[in-house]
């Protein structure tokens, strides 16, 4: 039973990994378009995974995640266009910049309760977007944004076609899944769970809850920042409208819909929210209606999301004897 499930998973992964190759034959006319849709799904999946750390693991309502995404995208774009830094080299710098930005924002508001924090993060997202439109430091290009971002290069190979980006983006998504899964099974992951469940008990058990709240923000924002750089590399042009409040809402929605804290659920949620509307393009005007209705039904009948998080498993060490 278990091996059969694993076999199916392997087949699924192979099918997915070769998607750009077989799509050429399935849909010769618009294969590129569909690969690009899946690339978008990949970007949103990474964003949603990064928000999961803040929203589900640490339990902090953040509806301004697009702000960190924007800081990363702009940092990558500015480093690339002004200083000529290759975009993939700029990626970690963009991540760290977004992380530092989030830490500065979060430090004074980290102790706020759920809904209050949500309002603050919405505000931050808007302030940043308006700052970008107004070209605050004279480096963001105002409403037009930044264009002419160079294509990324990996070991001399120039990444430019959608199928190239497919492997770059989904490679990064796979790495994210791998690393975040390890984090979940660690002291750090547990600390976030404890502070979300009962901050007083967590603090009373010796966990520095303020520090871990901040670290969750830092990690989530760093990852969103790196994703921003990937986005800039893929689009070669970025502008403030790519980082609107709506983007934050979409990422938030993906995480809640998919299953708060379950990574497979987040992937499923991303496909539903990002890819399905493309499939149903014919009902363009009705799709948001259907979508909104689906969300409402979900929130009434399945509040934990499509795939709720699973409890952690431990391999318990055997003890010599049981005292009583």
């Amino acid at each position: 039973m278990m091996t059969r499930k694993r076999g199916l998973a392997v087949i699924g992964i192979i099918l997915f990994a070769t998607f750009p190759l077989w799509m050429k034959y399935v849909r010769p006319d618009d294969a590129r378009y569909w690969v690009d849709v899946i690339n978008n799904v990949g970007l949103y999946a990474i964003l949603a995974l990064s928000l999961t750390v803040i929203l589900c693991d640490a339990g902090m309502y953040n509806m301004g995640h697009a702000a960190f995404y924007a800081v990363g995208a702009y940092t990558g774009a500015i480093l690339n266009t002004q200083l000529g830094v290759p975009i993939l080299l700029a990626l970690p710098v963009a991540g760290i910049t977004a992380g530092i930005f989030s830490a500065i924002i979060a430090r004074p508001v980290i102790h706020l309760r759920g809904d209050y924090l949500l309002i603050v993060t919405v505000g931050v997202g808007e302030i940043l977007r308006i700052a970008l439109i107004n070209d605050v430091f004279g480096i963001t290009g105002g409403p037009n944004g930044i264009f002419g971002i160079a294509r990324p290069e990996l070991f001399g190979f120039k990444i430019k076609r959608p199928d190239h980006f497919f492997y770059l983006i989904w490679g990064f998504a796979a790495l994210t899944l791998f690393l975040f899964n390890r984090l979940k099974q660690s002291r750090f992951g547990r600390a976030l769970d404890y502070l979300r469940e009962d901050a007083v008990a967590a603090e009373g058990s010796g966990i520095n809850t303020d520090r871990y709240r901040l670290l969750a923000f830092l990690l989530g924002a760093t990852w969103a920042g790196m994703t921003g750089s990937l986005f800039a590399a893929k689009m070669t042009i970025i502008s403030p409208e790519s980082f609107s409040f709506w983007e934050s809402v979409v990422i938030f929605m993906i995480v809640i819909l998919g299953g708060s804290g379950n990574m497979a659920g987040v992937l499923l949620g991303t496909f539903i929210v990002i890819a399905l509307p493309e499939v149903f393009r014919d009902f363009a005007s009705a799709r948001m209606l259907i979508f909104g209705l689906a969300m409402m039904v979900m929130m009434v009948f399945r509040t934990q999301g499509l795939l709720p998080p699973k409890p952690r498993k431990f391999i318990l060490p055997k003890l010599a004897e049981e005292g009583d």
């Binding site: 690393l179 390890r182 660690s186 002291r187 547990r190 603090e203 303020d210 990690l219 952690r312 049981e322």
Partner: protein
């Protein structure tokens, strides 16, 4: 030698003095009971010691170091662990996961070593799990390790809180009504457990309403009424103190 020393500790909430000028000492290796009628300020004293509240006046010394103003998690890692009057377990998590929360402050691994899963991180995880199982076994819950905390009986939930507190490696353990919700048999086992804590060299300070437990388990008592200390001493002496009798039973 006193491991914990309260000097003139005062805490007010608005116009209400919850704790007024309370001083007492807890000797290292002893079992001390803090008793008093409901609303006497006992839990407030605990919250002051563990940093949940900051005193308005007075000092709280642990091994000679001032505690007031320190963050709760720092106080825990300096060697004071507590349980809560209203049980505060991580109900949706397994029993062993609850105890691992206590191990946290004795571990070091951060984000990077967890992502890289370094040998030292893996060793630390294994050691934490072993420690957690030892503490569970100490309180007699090892066989429940994989159950959800919420599914334990009330008495066992109290024991699990003690195991979680023990996992922090405390020198002083503060128990807030540990026998609350326990049947007489469980209370007997708790008295034995407190005895074994003492054997391990852990100092115990506890609040309890169950006088049979207090008289059997404690070597020293401190009595509070309306936030003021009205008596202290050996259990037998305290029991005979007219002010204590008055506080508990009232006068004509």
């Amino acid at each position: 030698m006193a491991i914990l020393e309260l000097n003139g500790v005062t805490k007010t909430f608005g116009g209400l003095t919850a704790v007024g000028d309370v001083s007492f000492k807890v000797d290292e290796g002893s079992v001390v009971g803090l008793i008093g009628p409901n609303g006497a300020g006992k839990t407030t004293v605990f919250n002051l010691i563990t940093g949940n509240y900051v005193p308005n006046a007075g000092s709280i010394l642990f091994e000679g170091r001032e505690l007031s103003g320190m963050a709760t998690n720092k106080i825990v890692s300096s060697g004071i662990a507590r349980t809560f009057q209203t049980i505060r377990l991580f109900q949706k998590m397994s029993v062993v996961e609850n105890v691992l929360a206590g191990c946290h402050c004795r571990m070091k691994a951060g984000i990077f070593s967890a992502m890289l899963r370094t040998p030292s991180q893996r060793r630390e995880e294994l050691e934490a799990l072993q420690l957690a199982m030892r503490e569970l076994s100490f309180v007699g819950l090892a066989h429940q390790a994989e159950n959800l905390a919420a599914n334990l009986s009330y008495g066992n939930q109290r024991l699990l809180e003690i195991a979680r507190a023990l996992a922090t490696g405390p020198k002083l353990l503060i128990l807030d009504e540990p026998a609350g919700g326990m049947n007489p048999q469980e209370t007997d086992q708790l008295v034995a457990l407190i005895g074994r804590l003492k054997e391990r060299g852990i100092t115990v300070l506890l609040i309890e309403h169950d006088m049979s437990l207090v008289m059997r388990a404690c070597e020293e008592l401190v009595v509070l009424e309306y936030g003021i200390k009205i008596a202290e001493g050996k259990p037998d002496a305290v029991k005979a103190d007219p002010r204590v009798i008055e506080a508990y039973l009232g006068t004509d």
